[in-house]
Symmetry: C2
Subunit: 440 residues, 2 copies
Amino acid sequence: MDNIPARGSHTRLDSYVDRYAARTAGMTASEIRALFAVASRPEVVSLAGGMPNISGLPLDVVGAAIGDLIATNGPVALQYGSGQGDPTLRDQICDVMRLEGIEAHPDDVVVTIGSQQAVDLVTRIFCDPGDVVLCEAPSYVGALGVFKSFQCDVVHVGMDADGLVPEALDQAIRAVKRAGKTIKFLYTIPNFHNPAGVTLAPERRPEILRICREHDILVLEDNPYGLLGFDREPIRALRADEAEGVIYLGSFSKTFSPGMRVGWALAPHAVREKLVLAQESATLCPPSFSQMAVSAYLTAHDWQGQIKQMREMYRERRDAMMSALDDFMPAACAWNRPEGGFFVWVSLPPGIDAKAMLPRAVTARVAYVPGTAFFADGFGSGSMRLSFCYPTPERIREGVRRLAGVLESEMELRETFGATSPTHELDVRSGYNSPGTDLG
Amino acid sequence: MDNIPARGSHTRLDSYVDRYAARTAGMTASEIRALFAVASRPEVVSLAGGMPNISGLPLDVVGAAIGDLIATNGPVALQYGSGQGDPTLRDQICDVMRLEGIEAHPDDVVVTIGSQQAVDLVTRIFCDPGDVVLCEAPSYVGALGVFKSFQCDVVHVGMDADGLVPEALDQAIRAVKRAGKTIKFLYTIPNFHNPAGVTLAPERRPEILRICREHDILVLEDNPYGLLGFDREPIRALRADEAEGVIYLGSFSKTFSPGMRVGWALAPHAVREKLVLAQESATLCPPSFSQMAVSAYLTAHDWQGQIKQMREMYRERRDAMMSALDDFMPAACAWNRPEGGFFVWVSLPPGIDAKAMLPRAVTARVAYVPGTAFFADGFGSGSMRLSFCYPTPERIREGVRRLAGVLESEMELRETFGATSPTHELDVRSGYNSPGTDLG
């Protein structure tokens, strides 16, 4: 590991700058990424990341299950597998989805490198440059990155405390169609939304499906947090009531281990065939080793009991976040009370720019993600995402206390000197506007 | 795992057929893929697959190393990692590359899901539809699939027994430029070529680099088999003599375990940055778990001694293949003697179509890959790829004996009745022709 040559001989200019594909213009470092280096310093309370807290996992059980896997089935686990994924794991994935009312056949499941890769493969097979993808406002930063990298036009659709607003969806679809553009799918996170923290109300679900059916719009249902509800049984998936018009994405990253990178797509049969071809082109096959490790864990362990423990642990953190927000935040702030998942969305007092404020927050040893990261169109500067998944309840409380202090100072400065950020953006969305309130 | 619903309710027609992206037209099942189901029957000797023989791996060492990893470093191995890949593993990758004369910095390495994903990511960041990729004739089927799926035009460049022909490369570049098209890179497998079995002669290497430098063409050096030479020390990589104009791809799939899906790209710094962004978009990050498992194996085991054993095992199989070809094949066939790797390329007697003959070969319980799989342009019907990596020497000999029998029957039929295949293709390449002989 020594003898690493000095870097001086490298030119730091990009001699390839004129040669990249047009799609690379959409590949830019996310705001979350830039934060990672800073927020990982121990003195900073990071309310920014979305890393699950896996400290409760039974490492002895995991280690034993994997040791047993290598001993009894090593030559298979270490060899190439099928492009579609391990058949036993796909069976088990159907068991997992059954908890949300989905009756699926393992042959319609494709295993992916986390559900991130499922978003990538679906976009790859459906989207030409200029095609429109409908997303909630705000939406998951990682999915927006994929859509940008495939040169899609993202059109945001308004949400409120009950999730995606059906009327806003209908109007957005009509507006896009009037503009002569092609909508390839609606990307939606119905449960415990990242970043918004809200859940699509059960009574809205048939309505969303009806609108999409009426307009012949495919639904991409991304559900990484579905089993992490705090107060009730898993909510019935959109896919449970619509098999042909929905591609469902799931993941073991939040219910077991993100380091395995095992997610999946459940798709209508013809789409599934295309996804397998895309997976073979992208990776030949997902890793047998981590798929079989997940499978062994599911077999060896009471994984549902483990998820129950996780739900309780995250609920405690959600509660710590809620009390701290109540106790410390300035009155002009507003937020929702997430019923599951990792995140809460905070609307800031008028005139406060979350992105401009971030360096001052980090100086005060607290980090968050500015709302702009979750919009494709520059909107969101008056909001931020706070995550309660990773820090302890005490650290969450301390982080919110620090954040409230930073906010108070910003508001005082603003009262004394006017706007703190000379480039403060107007809170209006470009492109197709929708009537939905923005998580107020 | 029970309660799997019947499939009767699914429609088998593709209601999405009009909605896919243009690039899906290039995503078709490869000929290798269609073979897998058939060739995996135990009575068939498969000379078709490219699966490494991992039966010699010390499962006890692997199991102990991974058990230890989970026990001591489980919370890291099971968590999200960096998009670029595990830093310790990237250090170790630099050690591996040093065996081929490459002095690299771990910061210029990006870990990928096998080197297949490295081909995918490089193509993703460089290639717009219609861009030209230069490939050897024949070339690796998995790479051709990627180039097709990104709507590239593949232009094949001739090889002979000493690998890629410099004059053919120069002429191909000039012809493409005259046609007004943009070449994004040369994709080449210099060592123990898949499928051709040949190795780029050391004296040609500076010449290939000079031509690419002169025409400002990036080189994508794919080297999965480089450490599996039978008769000599590892050959100096192209990248060892040209840091700015070469992206080097490596993999642990052939020297340790394909089921880990751990490969890498070593790229000029600016390109590396783009590759990390593409990796984050594609998967967020490669699996921490399998990266750290590979890293633990490299630390715990004499991996170079293990590779030496593999080389001896594959050499024995190459020798079995060579004697069997000598002993059984009709005189009008020709083949090369691979100095490493997994494959030998066989040219068939005039008029024999390897693709048309395949069903008869499988009936005779032997499988191979027809040469057409390795060309983007329909060429190659008079050739086949035989692999000697997986079956035992005895099975290889028996497989070649069966294959020779099928060939003899074809030749007899042909003599008696004329061409056996009504759609036999002419042995000329479409598109830019090159003067290189085709591995005759």
